[in-house]
């Protein structure tokens, strides 16, 4: 990557290292990700792929004995921000960089309440605005048609694939600029996985997506670029 392309860069890290107690998992990583693309992160287990994603929403900070060195930046509303700057508001950062986990994690409440939960957190309470947002997010996540008549059902009654799309919809409610996905299809059957892949391709238009995946065929189908995390170095291609 060269300097003149920097206006298209959305996420970058500079000399990033990460430690769990004495275990050194990420070693001096300097990498850049362009906006409106799907970047796949691959590599053997235990090389810190999930940790790498958590750098961008600071979710690792709740883990005891974890420590980070180096810097990480994202471009929000066309302004570069240092994620670890003291002036950054953590809730705001996490609303701009949504995360979807390997295991679908709906909260123990209704489908509607799950999707509107982030709105409640950010203080949106006007009924009509909430309804519209929820419908839009569910449509964006290809889930609206399947759940529109049962929005008050417990979210945990959905199938695994539906739950995962629910989690994606929930992350989309606040119009994030970045989506961090940690092996989102690994617990799903092929059909549900296919729907999520199509969904990610459609979201690429509005979001910058970082995706951890173990499936080479999935990466070939949807990823624009691949970053490999292995023992000592990270390779970009």
């Amino acid at each position: 990557m060269t300097e003149n392309k920097s206006n298209e860069i959305k996420i970058k890290t500079v000399n990033l290292s990460f430690y769990y107690n004495r275990l050194h998992v990420l070693k001096d990583i300097s990498v850049e990700f362009p906006e409106r693309s799907i970047s796949a992160i691959v590599g053997p287990s235990g090389q810190g792929k999930s940790t790498f994603l958590m750098i961008f929403n600071r979710l690792w900070e709740t883990i005891p004995d974890a420590r980070m060195e180096g810097e990480a930046f994202i471009r929000l509303k066309n302004k570069w921000v240092n994620i670890y700057d003291r002036s950054i508001s953590l809730p705001e950062l996490r609303r701009s960089a949504g995360m979807v986990f390997q295991t679908p994690n709906p909260l123990p409440m209704s489908i509607f309440k799950n999707i509107s939960f982030p709105l409640k957190l950010s203080g949106v309470i006007e009924k009509q605005a909430v309804d519209e947002k929820v419908e839009f997010a569910l449509k964006q996540a290809f889930l609206w048609e399947e759940v529109k008549d049962r929005l008050s059902d417990d979210a945990r009654s959905l199938s695994g694939g539906q739950q995962q799309r629910l989690c994606i919809a929930r992350a989309l409610t606040l119009d994030p600029e970045i989506l961090l996905l940690d092996e989102p299809t690994s617990f799903l059957d092929a059909g549900s996985g296919q729907i999520i892949e199509d969904l990610l391709l459609s979201l690429k238009e509005s979001c910058t997506i970082l995706l951890i995946s173990h499936y080479m065929d999935q990466i070939r189908r949807i990823a624009d670029r691949v970053m490999e995390l292995s023992g000592d170095t990270s390779n970009n291609s």
Binding site: T62, L90, P108, K120
Partner: protein, 284 residues
């Protein structure tokens, strides 16, 4: 094989023994209190006042004393415990939270009589000065001190409940940008309803069974209290006072009525906790 068999019999024996103790205590109480039951006397005891000169040995005043002290002490202890456990498990930074939790654990180990001393020498004079009425030995003093006695256990139960929330819920709330307080209000508290209720009921049992605090701080007057500054006697304090002074009179018999009432109350509370726990398992 032989050793295993031996151990099995041993454990079975221990289990049967401890389980039958509960039943035996009940039978013992019923047996010794039996004279009271003849002629339906037991239920009149619960509703009549205490006036030995007129031959009235009702335990109604003690029942009223117990209920008012227990209720009031929960009014102090419940909000305090809820707040303290929210601080420990959600809001405070890790180091400070650990320190608080250790302190609370230490508090559970302090003998009740020490709390009683603190009450007699610090709280009672304070209440006396502040409200300028009576000796300061009152429902208010006893309930305040009793809340200090039951809070540590309640805090630990609540903390455990809050920390047993599934990691995936916690991660979901964090990743969506919930502040610690929002996470507490919208995710942890709704999920912990049953644990909070169970902790509350166990504390009621604890408060009801406590003898020393009321004995030392409530003044032990045998009258139905009219205000929280009045002196009162609890069922447990009544048992302790009568047993120390007397044996084999009608007065003495009333302590079995008091004991039975306490037994029935605490046993039904524990059963209630079981039922709630069972409902909780089904819901998850």
């Amino acid at each position: 094989m032989k050793r295993e068999c031996f151990a099995e019999t041993g454990f079975l024996g221990a289990a049967v023994l401890s389980a039958s103790l509960t039943a035996l205590i009940l039978i013992f109480m019923l047996f010794l209190g039996f004279p009271l039951f003849r002629g339906g006397c037991f239920f009149t005891l619960l509703t009549t006042p205490w006036n030995p000169d007129k031959g009235l040995f009702g335990i109604y005043p003690m029942l009223a004393g117990t209920l008012s002290i227990v209720f009031l002490s929960l009014c102090w202890a419940f909000p305090l415990s809820l707040g303290a456990s929210a601080l420990i498990s959600v809001i405070a930074p890790t180091g400070f939270a650990k320190f608080c939790k250790k302190t609370v654990q230490m508090l559970t180990g302090i003998p009740t009589v020490i709390y009683g001393f603190v009450g007699v020498f610090l709280l009672v004079p304070f209440i006396r000065e502040m409200f300028a009425s009576g000796s300061g030995m009152s429902i208010l003093s006893a309930s305040l001190m009793l809340s200090m006695v039951i809070s540590p256990t309640m805090i630990l139960i609540f903390t455990d409940t809050f920390e047993s929330i599934p990691a995936s819920y916690s991660a979901a709330a964090d990743a969506l940008g919930a502040s610690p307080v929002q996470k507490l209000l919208y995710v942890i508290l709704p999920y912990s309803r049953q644990g909070i209720f169970a902790g509350l009921i166990l504390s009621v049992g604890r408060a009801m069974g406590d003898t020393l605090i009321a004995l030392m701080l409530a003044g032990n007057a045998v009258a139905v209290p009219g205000s929280i500054l009045d002196s009162a006697r609890t069922l447990t304090a009544h048992i302790a006072l009568v047993i120390a002074a007397d044996f084999d009179s009608i007065e003495f018999k009333t302590i079995f009525a008091a004991g039975l009432v306490l037994y029935v109350f605490t046993t039904s509370l524990i059963l209630l906790v079981r039922i709630i726990g069972g409902m909780g398992m089904k819901n998850r």
